[in-house]
């Protein structure tokens, strides 16, 4: 079975632009979570979606938004990019509220 997949793998944007990151969960998993990992730190929780509804939101500004589609894939959108948004963005899926499995991540560089 395929694991969690994310696209794109790498992305370079300039300040003020917006970006859309995509995630496909493991087949059968209905929960998707997004995390941001800046260099030298552990991942920080951004959002969790379950059955297309937002179930949790971390301490991130409103420039960050997400949604989950009927096939349980998810998008993370970031508007008005800042230099500080440069990070590895990780998506995780889980079956109910058990072990979370992470994708390979999208590396975003904001110039």
């Amino acid at each position: 079975d395929a694991g969690v997949t994310q696209s794109p793998t790498h992305l370079i944007k300039t300040r003020g632009q917006h970006v859309t990151l995509r995630c496909s969960p493991i087949s059968g998993h209905k929960s998707v979570s997004w995390y941001q990992q800046v260099l030298g730190q552990g991942p920080q929780f951004i959002f969790q979606y379950y059955e297309k509804e937002e179930r949790g939101r971390g301490n991130f500004p409103d420039r960050f938004s997400a949604r989950q589609f009927p096939n349980y894939s998810s998008e993370l959108n970031v508007n008005a990019l800042l230099l500080g948004d440069s990070a590895l963005y990780l998506c995780a899926s889980s079956f109910r509220q058990e072990t979370q499995y992470f994708g390979p991540g999208t590396r975003l560089l904001v110039l």
């Binding site: 979570s33 730190q41 552990g42 991942p43 929780f45 995780a92 058990e98």
Partner: protein
């Protein structure tokens, strides 16, 4: 919010040595996972262990939930064990929100 502290922050081992990585957390948790992050950034699941003891090959983990700590044991370390090890916990009622520690950087030298 919940605090997760990992120690030591850095660890250097000779190949073949054993090691113990520690994770302390400040509140009751529903979920505790150990991950290994490889140089490409992939977080690899090692254990889902909210309580008790589990073993998988050269790795084992123990969580004592009542005392709010977990230990990851690596025996007969190999150079491929190098990387960053994270402990992550989910607070009761937190809906899959994992809170990560700062990680332990392990370097295994040949």
């Amino acid at each position: 919010g919940i605090q997760v502290e990992q120690s030591p922050p850095d660890l250097i081992l000779q190949e073949g040595a054993n090691s113990t990585l520690r994770c302390n957390f400040s509140d009751s948790v529903n979920n505790l996972q150990w991950f290994h992050q490889n140089p490409w950034g992939q977080l690899i699941n090692l254990f889902y262990i909210p309580s008790g003891t589990k073993q998988n090959g050269r790795l084992s983990a123990t969580t004592v939930a009542t005392e709010r700590y977990s230990l990851l044991y690596i025996s007969s370390s190999q150079t491929t064990d190098s990387g960053v090890y994270f402990c992550a916990v989910e607070l009761a009622g937190a809906n899959s929100k994992l809170t990560f520690g700062k990680g332990i950087t392990l370097s295994v030298r040949p």
